[in-house]
Symmetry: C2
Subunit: 228 residues, 2 copies
């Protein structure tokens, strides 16, 4: 190894995940209590391994907790204040992910103490994890306003009223259902199914799915996704 490299101090590199879920009523974040810090809730995290990319590591860590693969995962920010972890200096790369909460419920392993918390009612968090969550919420709002990522939080089949409730929860507001539905449908990203939701309302709402092909075409472009 060259001198210029040798003289440098290496640091531990961690990954932390802000895992969002939606239970039909409010937007939630999945928190855990980890071995070292039994008393404090924290984000799910882990260490970067030698053969992994950052994204692979974040993915693996997410899988370890939730058993889920193929979830929406996006790098949020690298956090590296010298004293952020008081024990040893660690640079943490935070990722946020959007999971279908019902998939998660079915796959969770008992290895961790994990719990969903409403984003409006979070406990104190370890280290700078509170900052990470705040930033993730901001980013989710920013992104969901212009990109159709909300679907990642719902089942493959969902109704328009469910989708509206999700956006209500993300933005902590109440959108007008007529304008909301018109706007969402005008993107042509949704395919109406013949099946109706049963059991929730008397009339029942039609299920929709995302048109995967169109979705991939536009996932990179601006859409203006929030009405009102």
């Amino acid at each position: 190894m060259l001198d210029q490299y040798k003289q440098q101090q290496p640091y531990l590199v961690a990954l932390d995940s802000i895992i969002f879920g939606f239970d039909g009523e409010s937007l939630k974040v999945l928190l855990v209590k980890r071995g070292l810090e039994e008393k404090t809730w924290s984000l799910m995290g882990g260490w970067l391994q030698p053969e992994e990319s950052l994204e692979q590591a974040a993915s693996r860590i997410l899988f370890d907790l939730t058993g889920l693969t193929n979830v929406y995962l996006e790098q949020l920010h690298a956090f590296g204040n010298p004293d952020r972890d008081p024990i040893v200096r660690t640079v943490s790369v935070a990722y946020f992910s959007l999971v279908k909460i019902t998939d998660y419920e079915s796959k969770i392993s008992g290895a961790f103490q994990a719990q969903w918390f409403s984003i409006y009612d979070l406990p104190p968090l370890l280290f700078d994890h509170g900052d990470m969550v705040d930033l993730a919420i901001k980013r989710l709002r920013y992104k969901a306003a212009q990109h159709p990522i909300g679907f990642e939080l719902l089942n493959d089949k969902f109704t328009i009223p469910q989708l509206k409730k999700l956006y209500d929860a993300i933005y902590n507001t109440e959108f007008d259902k007529r304008n909301f539905s018109r706007k969402i449908l005008s993107t042509n990203l949704l395919i109406k199914l013949t099946e109706k939701q049963k059991g929730f309302s008397k009339r029942g709402a039609f299920y929709y799915t995302v048109d995967a092909e169109k979705y991939h075409l536009v996932s990179d472009s601006f859409l203006n996704f929030i009405p009102n």
Copy 2:
């Protein structure tokens, strides 16, 4: 140190900066030839030091090259593919910055071989620096569309035609000057000075400055900054 930490492998942490400048005609990126890799252009970079935050380190590195402080600096992305640096595994946190190119010209130290390249005519770059630049351009476009950050690339005093040329360069297009000027002025962020630009055109264009107070108020909100 606790066992859980001890078992982990540490990595070198670097910072790389995509430094944007605008010379009045086209959008440029500042590249250097570094000691180790004399034949290849690369981004300006350096190592994270024990007592620094990531942002402080990026700032210091920027200062070392340009002599500039108080420049716009924003974290872009952390890059950590295992083989991105073939010599030793390094995680690099990339920052992008917007500098006033004339300030830079006056402060550059001769210590580095540095050169501005048009973003449409870049040489091959070291490691994954090409990806970093691509992403930075994408991010700049994304951000400048909705936030008034373009001013960071111009002198404190600038004319509307200069500002339009900057946006033309960023988006590689030609905006309509009537709509452009109306839209920019409608934000009420600019203060018209009595002084006119001399020497460039016969008639001369009025100088403007940014209303710092209003600028700070809106720098976090959405503005819809690109017309046409």
